[in-house]
Amino acid sequence: MRFSQARGQKIVSTSTAGTVGRVSGFVVDPSTSRIAAVRVKKAASGDTLPWTDITSFGVDAVTVDDAARITEASEKIASLSGRKRKVIGRRVLSTAGNELGRSSDVEFDQESGAVTAIVLNDEKTATGKVVGIGSYAVVWQED
């Protein structure tokens, strides 16, 4: 699944069957190349849903067992957030030192939250994994 497809998806609590928020973005941990948390809008209890607290990341909705899973960002997740830690709209450098382009989208695995491919602004897709997200570029290790 791509970030662009997941954005706006409903987050539903399985205990109350009500919508408790919507996906507004993602926080990626470059040390593991996985999604650390989902950014949430229109939720009462906070703006962050850690990936480990998700029951299931479905095609049409994200399910959680309790609305309280959505909290304020922990210190670790806060350190991975911010304008310079975004993955979309950034310069993408390969680990070989070649500029691949600018990132327009990201493909991820709904089971594990692993980032598996990066979509560039020329619609080319590079498979591999994230190794770094810095102020200059997203560093991408190609398969």
């Binding site: 500029e99 770094g132 200059y136």
Partner: protein
């Protein structure tokens, strides 16, 4: 596949950590005259107001020399400049090969060095100085303004004069395509002479 690069393409390139931070840019290429190996780069800061940095990047710490960036593991690999490495940079042109005059060992003046050609091995493990791009004085028997000459594996260099074997004029090229073959040919020619 080894790659041939002009050092002017390398200088100014950003030095980027695998975490994605641009910590410096390449200033000078420093090489040992005896073996022609590139040993280190001196660095400058990034940004309009940045000057030279007091640290250097050893070739052994380079993860990859790419088309758009020089990748390093992290900022920790940048070591303080060793005594002397910054001397040439601060004392004018001395020690800088660019602008130095190339003489053959038979005493012919080939011209001034405009650029230096380095060969990077496939896995980025070695970077060797293999040629000079020269703004020619007519002696090399060519009308072209710039020409490429291959270098022997060991060369004599002082910063003022660079001495090359006289037979080099037979291996002159005008562009990087085919220059690899010229280096091979020149070096095997030198080997055959001994």
């Amino acid at each position: 596949m080894t790659r041939l690069l002009r050092t002017s393409e390398i200088t100014g390139r950003p030095v980027v950590t695998l975490a994605g931070e641009d910590v410096a840019q390449i200033k000078d290429v420093v090489y040992a005259p005896g073996r022609g190996r590139v040993g280190a780069f001196t660095l400058a800061g990034r940004g309009l107001f940045a000057g030279p940095l007091p640290v250097a990047l050893a070739w052994s710490s380079v993860v990859a020399l790419g088309n758009d960036a020089v990748m390093i593991a992290d900022e920790e690999v940048l070591a303080p400049l060793e005594q002397g490495v910054d001397q040439p940079a601060t004392s004018g042109r001395q020690g800088n090969v660019l602008g130095a005059r190339v003489l053959t060992d038979t005493g012919t003046d080939l011209g001034l060095v405009a650029d230096v050609i380095v060969q990077v091995s496939e896995d980025d493990s070695a970077c060797e100085v293999v040629g000079y791009e020269i703004e020619s004085s007519d002696a090399a028997g060519s009308q072209a303004d710039t020409l490429l000459i291959p270098l022997p594996e060991t060369l004599s260099a002082s910063g003022e004069h660079l001495i090359v074997p006289g037979s080099v004029t037979k291996f002159v090229r005008h562009d990087l395509a085919g220059f690899g073959a010229a280096i091979e040919g020149f070096r095997s020619h030198l080997g055959g002479e001994d």
